[in-house]
Amino acid sequence: MGAAILTHQNFGHGAPAAGATKTAAAPPPEVVDLPPPVRRPAPLVERYGDDIAGFFRGAIPVVFGIALFITVWAIVSQSSTLPGPLKTWYSAVEVFSDPFYRKGPNDQGIGWNILNSLGRVGIGFGLAALIGIPLGFMIGRFRFLSGMAAPIVSLLRPVSPLAWLPIGLLVFKAANPAAIWVIFISSIWPMIINTAAGVREVPQDYLNVAKVLNLSEWKVFTRILFPAVLPFMLTGIRLAIGVAWLVIVAAEMLTGGVGIGFWVWDEWNNLNVEHIIIAIFTVGIVGLLLEQALMLIARRFEYR
């Protein structure tokens, strides 16, 4: 490290000296005798040193955290019927070695379970976005609608999503649409609320621009409202997908069918606790990936 810095400094001193003599009117001949500066690539440590150090500074606490978690888990499993980390790991390798098998309606690979759950979340969440976002825009734009919606939203939003399941079963008379209905109702609130808040927060300056340019309602929407609200909308979507993924496990436990929630319940009935732990981790990892993907999209729409 020390040597690397020294060579770097030598280059630093050599280069301007050569440049200065070039610009001088009469370059003295002894300048020619100077050894030409050799451009060696900087040592790896110098080029990536900061990155590597930064990575380790970030990674070390994470590694310690996970290690501590696994240790506590291992200790607890010693003195109870809870399967330990190693046993769970071997079971996970087995489960994930064949994720897409099908042996009848109640015994399918974990891949199918995840995909089915994601499918339900996708449909329920998509419908909620389709209805919630335009609704949010209207509530944010028109004070009267906001007054109309406020009591309903604040009354229904705190209700546990699962309380809507019987209503879904009653109306749709089938388990699958009822589960989708629960996802829909639980993920629509954050989208309505955040979109409406975003519309209300559009800076007055931009609306003044719209006024002095006399823009049409459509132009105001596409050029000013929509881009200004987009970051708020994405926050709503992110919150909604979090809730939706949270709720699907519980909903599927009650409705059955293929899905990660049903799988948890099924494995509980089989007393296969390793699989339950695997399911918990799988749900966590998929949720994390969904969140990260949406964060990536949201970051693309940051302007300031």
């Binding site: 300056d205 931009y206 003044n208 621009v209 006024k211 002095v212 340019l213 006399n214 823009l215 132009k219 050029r223 000013i224 881009p227 200004a228 302007y303 300031r304």
Partner: protein, 263 residues
């Protein structure tokens, strides 16, 4: 035309918790075609309110405002506004910001290519063709303000309304933009109404300076005609005795007749 823009007996009051607040009272101002008029006064005297009334963003409580013989009923593209804080849309490039205005005014009768040519012409007028594809957050404050001016000019407005356009800029950039504005106005022959609190800026740029008394119930205190010949040169004016006399008159009004009690 003698009175291209005119404000006749205009009053403006706002409703507040403590009742009605009279901001402007008995305002009478007229602007000739091609004239550069500045509104100057201490902060809070309602000069921006008056400009917003001409822009159509505010309606007077009583009185009449006319532009080119027609009553001002609301905002319109015949009056181009440049805001103090540039108000460019951050998700559009400079060219797109200008294009939005161009499209609104000329979109019905012209092809896309013609509209684009207008956009580039407006950016060229403020010497920013090189920044056409940049977003507002990628350019300096002075450049943003120039895009704002280009956007207002691109609509070929009858009147250009400038609301402290250089107030947020540093002194050097401000001087540079004032010189640019002088050249642009000389080239386009625009009718301009500008709000400022900078005495030098007012004398340098205007044909007439409308000096406003302190609020509440602010009104036009006095009007100074700036008889300095155009084109004006900042450096030449520094040595001009008449420049200093005019400057002195405005300063006298602001700091002796209308001195604020420790604002």
């Amino acid at each position: 035309m003698e009175k291209f823009v005119s404000v006749e007996q205009a009053n403006m009051s706002f409703k507040t918790k403590g009742g009605s607040f009279v901001a402007l009272q008995d305002i009478n101002v007229s602007i000739r075609e091609g004239e550069f008029v500045t509104l100057i006064g201490h902060s809070g005297c309602g000069k921006s309110t008056l400009l917003n009334m001409v822009a159509g963003l505010l309606q007077p409580t009583s009185g009449v405002l006319l532009c080119a013989g027609r009553e001002i009923a609301g905002p319109g593209p015949d009056r181009g506004v440049v805001f103090q804080n540039h108000s460019l849309l951050p998700w559009l490039t400079c060219a797109e910001n200008v294009y939005l205005a161009v499209e609104r005014v000329f979109g019905a009768g012209e092809t896309k290519a013609q509209l684009k040519a207008r956009t580039l012409k407006a950016l060229d007028l403020v010497q920013l063709t090189h920044a056409a594809d940049k977003r507002p957050n990628e350019i300096s404050g002075g450049m943003k303000q120039r895009v704002g001016i280009a956007r207002a000019l691109s609509m070929e407005p009858k009147v250009l309304l400038l609301d402290e356009p250089f107030g947020a800029l540093d002194a050097l950039t401000r001087a540079h933009l004032q010189d640019e504005l002088l050249k642009i106005v000389a080239k386009t022959g625009s009718t301009v109404l500008m709000v400022t609190h900078d005495v030098d800026e007012a004398v340098l740029l205007s044909d007439r300076i409308v000096m406003m008394t302190n609020g509440p119930a602010a009104t036009v205190g006095d009007i100074v005609a700036v008889g300095l010949a155009r084109p004006r040169e900042r450096m030449a004016l520094v040595k001009d005795a008449r420049y200093h006399e005019l400057r002195g008159r405005v300063l006298e009004f602001l700091y002796q007749k209308q001195l604020r009690p420790a604002a």
